[in-house]
């Protein structure tokens, strides 16, 4: 039995889903499908949205129908997704294991929720920092804001739930929401528990590409002092 579902997301998009859980193996399968679809795009394809365990293809219905003579675009693209699922497995191997080392300053001034996260886990703030920097995280999705990486999975003892009330979050802020960790690329209202800030610019509309992180990449954080943070910020400018 094949454990996936395909459902319409309106009349010009379709989602392929492997279920509602965060599993690295599922995500690799999705990445493999994405690669296969990029090499064999259905006519009229306009975008592929990769998430944790799903992939959404967006297409231009008119172009697709002009090119295929299929009875419905939905059936045609469904078939393409099934094929991508079976053939895409060959492409999971060549996932480019790009790994980014991201400096984070965990100074109080940048970490309004660090104490809270420590208390929840019965830890010292130093232990939270050690745990957060110990793991290599996988980027499952870029969403919410341009360049906002959804990464998992943090150590269970620092997996603090989201705040009840969102508040204004500064650009570069590094946060935790459940088992996920992420970086706010621009200032924005947000509900994640903020435990530090990176001096790196995660989104820069003037550079090419404007975003370097992509789903499938890996990230490891390392702690820097306030002075190193300021120096890195200056270098960037």
């Amino acid at each position: 039995m094949e454990d996936f579902t395909i459902y319409p997301l309106g009349d010009q998009a379709l989602t392929f889903s492997l279920g509602n859980s965060i599993r690295q193996r599922d995500h690799e399968r999705i990445q493999g499908m994405k690669r296969w679809l990029e090499q064999h795009p259905p006519p009229g394809l306009t975008d592929i949205v990769v998430a944790y365990s799903s992939l959404t293809v967006v297409y231009d219905l008119y172009q697709l129908r002009q090119a295929t003579h299929s009875s419905t675009a939905f059936e045609f693209v469904s078939a393409a997704l099934r094929e991508a699922f079976h053939r895409g497995t060959d492409h999971t191997a060549d996932v480019s294991q790009k790994r980014w080392e991201v400096p984070v300053c965990y100074d109080q001034a940048f970490a309004p929720d660090l104490d809270h996260v420590a208390r929840l886990g019965n830890l010292s703030t130093a232990e939270v920092i050690t745990l957060h920097t110990a793991r290599v995280y996988r980027i499952f999705m870029i969403g919410f804001l341009p360049g906002f990486p959804y990464m998992a999975e943090v150590d269970a003892s620092i997996a603090a739930p989201r705040r009840d009330q969102p508040r204004q979050v500064e650009a570069g802020s590094v946060g935790i929401a459940g088992i996920q960790t992420g970086i706010y690329p621009v200032s924005s209202p947000g509900g994640w528990q903020i435990i530090g800030r990176t001096p790196l610019k995660m989104f820069d509309r003037g550079s090419d590409p404007p975003v370097h992180l992509e789903p499938g990449h890996e990230v490891r954080f390392y702690a820097v002092t306030r002075k190193e943070f300021e120096d890195l910020s200056r270098q960037r400018a």
């Binding site: 459902y7 309106g10 998430a51 129908r65 419905t72 969403g143 919410f144």
Partner: protein, 326 residues
């Protein structure tokens, strides 16, 4: 070879058919709210369907033409006046240099489009001229237009001669069928439709909704009695599209519009069909609508025939323009 804003509007931006293909970076598509009106505006002046146009809300800016231009105005009827004289919508017109375009009163609709022959001289960002205001990118300096902005035309294409201060050309788009029965809007079932209790499903299918004043280019919020679910599960975020109807935690519905985020994690009870997004885009706050569920196959048919009609119209308009040796 330009248009100059001599007075700011409330929200006038440059938009095309959207910036597609960059969800891998979390960059959302933007683009016009009423894709049909924008495509029609382009067709009337001989542009490609996806050329950038000016999208205006009311009160809109006042525009000064610094050169002759072949233009058309489509979408909402804000009572356009050229040099204080009323001009028609959905028709091409040659506007003479030094003319001023103003909009007097909102009579119908919510978003009005202005196309110019040859398009606006905007440098594309990631393949599109759409304005993404959230990240201050694309369009005209990444922002809404304001007083003293000067919008150059990309190419000065030959146009019919302007005789007086205005010359209306003898062809038009009949948009009436597209906006017929404004308050009746179709959707297709969403993945989490069955999460609603049967009473709430009935409510969606039979009760009227009205457009909340908080609606904007990101989302169209609906006003109604809260809906109830028989299932509460945390969904992992996944891709969403323009027209996706999300159920918010308080039981209220929001339809994602042109500036929607690339991903979302709220239950999706349905998706407004693409052929009816133009109607939804033209509903003003407090106006009401009813939702009707149809099949994906029917939604596809409606969109495909609408696009076929636009292509036929495009060929006809190009023929007309060739009569003027254009």
């Amino acid at each position: 070879m330009s248009i100059q804003l001599i007075r700011s509007g409330i929200l006038d931006t440059i938009q095309d058919q959207g910036r597609h293909g960059y969800s891998k970076w979390g960059i959302n598509p933007s683009g016009t709210m009423d894709r049909y009106a924008a495509q029609a505006a382009n067709i009337l002046v001989g542009n490609a369907l996806d050329e950038a146009v000016m999208e205006m809300h009311f009160p809109s800016g006042e525009l000064l033409f610094t050169s002759d231009a072949l233009v058309s105005i489509t979408g909402a009827d804000f009572t356009p006046l050229i040099n204080s004289k009323a001009v028609p919508l959905w028709k091409p017109m040659v506007v003479k240099k030094h003319s001023v375009l103003t909009f007097q009163r909102r009579q119908w609709g919510y978003r009005c489009y202005l196309s110019v022959r040859g398009g606006f001289g905007i440098t594309p960002w990631l393949g599109s001229r759409s304005t993404n205001m959230r990240i201050s990118a694309g369009g005209f300096q990444g922002r809404a237009l304001k007083k003293d902005d000067q919008l150059n035309f990309r190419r000065q294409l030959p146009g019919p001669e302007a005789h007086d201060d205005l010359r209306i050309l003898p062809w038009r788009v009949n948009a009436q069928p597209v906006y017929h029965d404004m308050g009746s809007i179709c959707f297709v079932e969403g993945r989490e439709w069955s999460w609603l209790t049967s009473a709430s499903q009935q409510q969606v299918l039979s009760d009227p909704f009205s457009i909340a004043p908080s609606s904007d280019r990101m989302g169209c919020y609906l006003q109604h009695e809260p809906l109830a679910v028989q299932r509460t599960e945390q969904l992992l975020s996944s891709g969403v599209s323009m027209g996706t109807i999300q159920l918010l935690p308080a039981g209220k519905l929001v339809v994602l519009m042109a500036d929607h985020q690339t991903t979302g994690g709220y239950p999706r009870i349905g998706h407004i069909i693409s052929a009816h997004l133009p109607k939804l885009s033209q509903l003003a706050p407090h106006e009401s609508l009813r939702l009707r569920m149809i099949s994906v196959a029917d939604a596809e048919k409606m969109l495909f025939s609408l696009q076929q009609e636009l292509r036929a119209l495009q060929r006809a308009c190009l023929d007309k323009l060739s009569d003027y040796d254009l």
